[in-house]
Symmetry: C2
Subunit: 115 residues, 2 copies
């Protein structure tokens, strides 16, 4: 049976979040898709990784979620056997005002342009 | 003697610039330093790579400028033996309104926070 420690995922605290890591995390189309999806949920609403159908393998998906979590973009917690994710909007907006929204707007504009 | 072709550097046209590549280019502290420097110049002013003293080797510096150029963040042209660089602000602002300024503001805030 996993211990409480094994079931807790590492996250940077707000002061440890770095712009370079956030930009790197957002520089991949699959990770951008995850953030777009999570940012579109109601405030504070969590989603399981399985809620979004990514065109990648399970292990690649897990990798992308981990990059997002370790960069400070999302928070992940276990609820029973499900790993639930939520965007750290409050932390991001406090550190980098407007950045998340500007990137999501740019992403939406690009998808319109390329479709 | 280099031909005209050899002296011309490849750049994506505006429509080829991709958000993911721009974010990746900006996700490195040295490249962020270059963009910060170039964005601080007067409108249209070019700078030689040697104008900025980066804490990296010449070949690493050349690599970083190339990543920025291929992502569409900067334009580079030869003037005699010097390679001159300028931020593609007009292209970036047209494609991703506010993105460059938001990133530079976030970068400035982070540097204040960490200093």
């Amino acid at each position: 049976m996993p211990t409480a420690t094994a079931r807790t995922l590492d996250h940077p605290v707000r002061a440890e979040i770095r712009l370079e890591a956030v930009l790197h995390a957002l520089s991949d189309p699959v990770r951008l898709q995850v953030v777009r999806f999570l940012a579109g949920l109601a405030d504070g609403e969590e989603a399981a990784c399985s809620a979004l159908d990514l065109a990648v393998t399970k292990s690649t998906s897990t990798h992308h979620y981990r990059v997002l979590r370790e960069a400070g973009l999302i928070r992940q917690v276990y609820r029973g056997t499900a790993k639930m994710s939520v965007v750290r909007r409050e932390d991001l907006d406090a550190l980098f005002p407007g950045l998340l929204d500007t990137v999501l707007t740019a992403d939406a504009a690009q998808r319109r342009r390329l479709s």
